[in-house]
C-alpha cells in the first residue's frame, strides 16, 4: 500500500514540474531566441510476485524543441541580409550626397555653364552675360566641392561603422565565450542549460547580421566560431578582432591580437569595408575626373582666345587646382570679367568663336568617352542604381528569412493557447494525484481503525 503514496507523490511532482515548464513557456512566449520546452516522462514499474506493477511516473528530462538545421540556414541568410542592409544604408547616404529631387544636381550645373558660354557667343560684349557666366562657373565649382565633401562625410561614417561593428562583434564573442562556460559545465552534469542555449541562439542571430562565420559544437557542448577560417571563439576563450585603418589609402586591415589576418566576406562588416575601400573611392575618382577634364578642356580652348581688355591668353579655371575638392575659376577672371575669352582674335570684341567652341564641348565625348553631362548623370545615378538592385534582392532575401523563421517558429515557438490547454491538463493531473493520495490516506485510516 505504501506504493500508493509513492505513485501519487511522483504524480504530484511530475504535474508540478510540467506546470512550471508550461508557465515558463507562456511567460517567455515573446522572448527573442526562446525555444519552448517539454517535460519528458516515463512510467516506473517493477516485477512483484510475478506481476509487473506500475510505480508512478518519472521525469526523464526537460527537452528544448528547436531545429538546429533551420538555424544554420537562417544564419546564412541573415548574414547576406546584414550585408545588403548595410550597403543599402550607405548607398542611401551616397545617393543623398550626389542627387536630389530639387533639380540642382551636377548635370544641371554643367549644362548651365555650357549655356552661359553659348549665350556669351551671341553677344560677347554684354556684361550681364559675362557676370552670369562667372556666377554659373562658381556655382559649378562649389557644387563639385560640396559633393566631394559629402562623399568624405559618408566615408567617415562608413569607417566609424566598421570600427563600431568590430566592437560589437568582439562584445558578442565575449558573451558567447561566457555562455560556453555555463553550457559546458551544465553539460558535464548532464543537465543542459536551456536558458544559456536560448541566449546563445539570440547572440548568434545578432552575430550573423554583422559578419559571416562558421560554427562547430564540440562534444562537451562548447561552441567554436570561425570567421574567414580563423578561429575566434573556442570554449570559454575568444580572440579580439582589431581594425587597423589607413584613411589615406582608404583601406582596412582586420587582425587578431596575435597578428593573424581576419578576412570577413559577408555581413554588415564586410559591406562597410567594401563601400569604404571601393565604392566611395571609385565615386571620388569619377567626380575628380569630371573636375580634371573640365579644367584641362576648358583651359585649352580658353587659352587660345582673348578677352575684351587685352591680348593676353588666360586659363578659365585655375590650373593649379584640378580636383573636385578644390576646382576654382581663375582669380584674374573673377577680378575682371572682361578677361573671359570669347574671341578667337585679339581685339575683336564681337567675335564669339572661342565662347561657342567652349559651348560645343558639351557635345564632345571627352570624359572617358562620354559627353560631360551624360557622364555626370551616370555618376549621380550610380548609387541609386545600386540601391534599387539591392532593395529588390533584399526583399527576396527578407521573404526567405521570413519563411525560415516561420518554420523555426512552428518548431520552437510558444503557442499560448496550446500551453493554456496543457495548463488545464496538468492541473487536472495534479488534482488526480492528490485524490489518489487522499484515498491512500483513507485506506490507512481504515486499516488503523481495525487495530484499535
Amino acid at each position: 500500500m505504501r506504493t500508493l503514496f509513492e505513485i501519487s507523490k511522483s504524480g504530484l511532482q511530475s504535474a508540478e514540474r510540467s506546470l512550471s515548464v508550461t508557465a515558463n513557456n507562456v511567460i517567455n512566449a515573446n522572448t527573442p531566441g526562446y525555444s519552448r520546452q517539454r517535460v519528458d516522462k516515463e512510467p516506473i514499474g517493477q516485477q512483484w510476485r510475478g506481476l509487473h506493477a506500475g510505480l508512478g511516473v518519472n521525469i526523464t528530462s526537460i527537452t528544448r524543441l528547436r531545429n538546429d538545421l533551420i538555424d544554420i540556414q537562417l544564419g546564412q541568410k541573415r548574414q547576406e541580409m546584414g550585408y545588403m542592409q548595410e550597403k543599402i544604408k550607405l548607398f542611401e547616404q551616397l545617393e543623398t550626397a550626389v542627387a536630389s529631387d530639387s533639380g540642382g544636381d551636377l548635370d544641371v550645373h554643367i549644362g548651365r555653364l555650357f549655356d552661359s558660354f553659348s549665350e556669351l557667343s551671341n553677344d560677347p560684349q554684354d556684361f550681364s552675360v559675362r557676370n552670369n557666366l562667372v556666377g554659373e562657373a562658381i556655382q559649378l565649382a562649389e557644387k563639385m566641392g560640396d559633393m566631394h565633401r559629402s562623399m568624405d562625410r559618408v566615408s567617415d561614417v562608413t569607417r566609424q561603422s566598421v570600427v563600431n561593428t568590430t566592437d560589437k562583434i568582439n562584445e558578442l564573442l565575449s558573451d558567447l565565450a561566457s555562455l560556453n562556460k555555463s553550457i559546458t559545465v551544465s553539460d558535464a552534469m548532464s543537465r543542459p542549460d536551456h536558458a544559456s542555449l536560448d541566449i546563445q541562439v539570440q547572440k548568434l542571430e545578432e552575430l550573423a547580421e554583422l559578419v559571416d562565420f562558421e560554427t562547430m559544437t564540440s562534444k562537451n557542448g562548447g561552441l567554436e566560431v570561425r570567421i574567414g577560417g580563423v578561429q575566434v571563439l573556442h570554449q570559454d576563450s575568444y580572440r579580439k578582432i582589431i581594425p587597423h585603418n589607413d584613411d589615406v589609402a582608404r583601406s582596412f586591415d582586420l587582425r587578431l591580437e596575435n597578428g593573424t589576418r581576419v578576412a570577413p566576406e559577408g555581413g554588415k562588416l564586410s559591406a562597410a569595408i567594401d563601400v569604404y575601400e571601393q565604392e566611395i573611392p571609385d565615386m571620388r575618382a569619377r567626380i575628380n575626373l569630371i573636375a580634371e577634364t573640365m579644367v584641362s578642356e576648358f583651359n585649352a580652348l580658353h587659352r587660345a582666345g582673348f578677352g575684351l581688355a587685352d591680348g593676353e591668353s588666360r586659363d578659365f579655371f585655375d590650373p593649379a587646382f584640378t580636383t573636385a575638392h578644390d576646382i576654382r575659376v581663375n582669380q584674374e577672371i573673377l577680378d575682371n570679367h572682361e578677361h573671359i575669352a570669347a574671341s578667337s582674335v585679339a581685339g575683336e570684341a564681337g567675335n564669339g568663336k572661342v565662347a561657342s567652341a567652349i559651348a560645343n564641348l558639351r557635345n564632345d565625348s571627352f570624359m572617358n568617352g562620354r559627353k560631360p553631362v551624360d557622364y555626370a548623370v551616370d555618376l549621380i545615378s550610380s548609387p541609386g542604381a545600386n540601391l534599387s538592385q539591392l532593395r529588390l534582392a533584399s526583399e527576396a532575401r527578407e521573404s526567405e528569412i521570413r519563411m525560415l523563421e516561420v518554420q523555426q517558429e512552428r518548431e520552437a515557438g510558444v503557442n499560448v493557447d496550446e500551453e493554456l490547454s496543457l495548463l488545464i491538463q496538468y492541473q487536472n493531473a495534479y488534482q488526480g494525484a492528490a485524490r489518489v493520495m487522499a484515498s491512500a490516506q483513507q485506506m490507512y485510516d481504515t486499516l488503523i481503525s481495525l487495530v484499535r
Partner: protein, 297 residues
C-alpha cells in the same frame, strides 16, 4: 501545423508595413506629381530623363541664341532698308541734277543734300545693339564708320569682313548682320566714294560725269538690296528653326514626362487597392487577437 501567436502577429505587422510603405509611395507620387524623383526609384528612367533634359536645355539655349540673333538681325535689316531708301534718294537727286535744265545753284544745294544723305547713311550704319555696333563685323566695339576727309568718300571704315554670328544648332552658325566692309565694296567701287563722286560732280556742274554715274548708283542700290535679302534669308531661316525647336521641344518634354511623371489614373487605382488590403488586414487582425483560450479560463 502549429501556428503560434507570434507567427500571426509578425505576419500581420509585416503585411501592414508593406501596405503602409506602398501607400506612402503612392501618396508622394500623387502629391509631387512625379514617379521618379531620385535615381534609386528607377535608375534607367532617371538617367534617360536627365539626358533628355540636357537635350532640352541645349535646344532652349539655341532658341535663346536665335531670339538674340533675330533681335540683332532685324535691327540690321531695318538699317539696310533705310540705307537703300537713302541710296534711292541719291539716285533721284542725281537724275534731277543730270538734266541740263537744272541751274547751277540748284546743283549746289543738291550736292549739300547728298552730303546730308551720306551723313544719314553713316549714322544708320553706326546703329548698335547694346554695346555692339551691328555693322562692325566682329570688330564691334568701335564705330564702323567715322568721318575723315582723307578717306575714300570722306568716311573711314573700321569694320572687318567677319560678320557676327550666332549658334543655332550643333555645328550650325548663322550670320546675323552684314559688315560695313562688305556693304561698301560694290562692283562700282566704294559706296561712299560713289556718293562722294556724285556730290563732287554736282558741285562741278559736270552733267556728263553725272550721267555716267547713274549706272554706279544703280549698282550700289542693287548691291545693298542683295545683301539685305541675304540677311532676310538668314532671318527667315532662324524663324523657321525656332518653330522647329518649339515642336521638338514638345516631343522631348512629353518623353521626359512619360519617364518620370505620375500616371494619375494608375496611381489612384493602386491607392484604392492597397487601401482595401490595409483596411481588411486591420479589421481581421483586431478580430483575430480576441480568439484566445485566455478569455475562457
Amino acid at each position: 501545423m502549429r501556428i503560434t501567436q507570434k507567427i500571426i502577429f509578425d505576419d500581420f505587422m509585416r503585411d501592414i508595413n508593406k501596405n503602409r510603405s506602398q501607400m506612402a509611395g503612392i501618396q508622394s507620387d500623387l502629391s509631387s506629381g512625379k514617379r521618379v524623383r531620385i535615381p534609386s526609384q528607377d535608375p534607367i528612367s532617371f538617367q534617360r530623363s536627365r539626358i533628355l533634359e540636357e537635350n532640352i536645355r541645349k535646344q532652349e539655349q539655341y532658341q535663346n541664341n536665335i531670339s538674340s540673333g533675330l533681335r540683332q538681325g532685324r535691327l540690321a535689316q531695318e538699317a539696310l532698308d533705310e540705307t537703300i531708301d537713302s541710296l534711292i534718294e541719291v539716285k533721284r537727286i542725281l537724275t534731277h541734277g543730270a538734266t541740263d535744265t537744272s541751274r547751277d545753284k540748284v546743283r549746289e544745294s543738291m550736292a549739300q543734300e547728298i552730303a546730308g544723305i551720306r551723313d544719314t547713311i553713316v549714322m544708320t550704319l553706326n546703329s548698335s545693339y547694346g554695346d555692339r555696333y551691328l555693322f562692325g563685323g566682329t570688330n564691334s566695339a568701335a564705330e564702323p564708320l567715322t568721318f575723315d576727309e582723307a578717306a575714300p568718300g570722306g568716311v573711314t571704315n573700321n569694320s572687318n569682313a567677319t560678320a557676327p554670328r550666332i549658334q543655332a544648332g550643333d555645328q550650325m552658325f548663322v550670320d546675323i548682320s552684314i559688315t560695313a566692309t562688305e556693304l561698301r565694296d560694290t562692283a562700282a567701287g566704294d559706296l561712299f566714294a560713289v556718293i562722294g563722286n556724285i556730290e563732287q560732280a554736282l558741285r562741278d556742274n559736270d552733267t556728263g560725269a553725272l550721267n555716267q554715274m547713274m549706272g554706279d548708283i544703280t549698282e550700289t542700290i542693287d548691291h545693298t538690296a542683295i545683301l539685305a535679302s541675304r540677311l532676310g534669308n538668314n532671318i527667315n531661316r532662324l524663324e523657321f528653326m525656332n518653330e522647329q525647336y518649339e515642336s521638338t521641344n514638345i516631343v522631348l518634354k512629353s518623353n521626359v514626362s512619360e519617364l518620370v511623371d505620375t500616371d494619375f489614373a494608375k496611381a489612384f487605382s493602386d491607392m484604392q487597392r492597397t487601401q482595401i488590403a490595409f483596411e481588411s488586414a486591420m479589421a481581421v487582425h483586431t478580430q483575430m487577437i480576441h480568439n484566445t483560450l485566455l478569455d475562457y479560463l
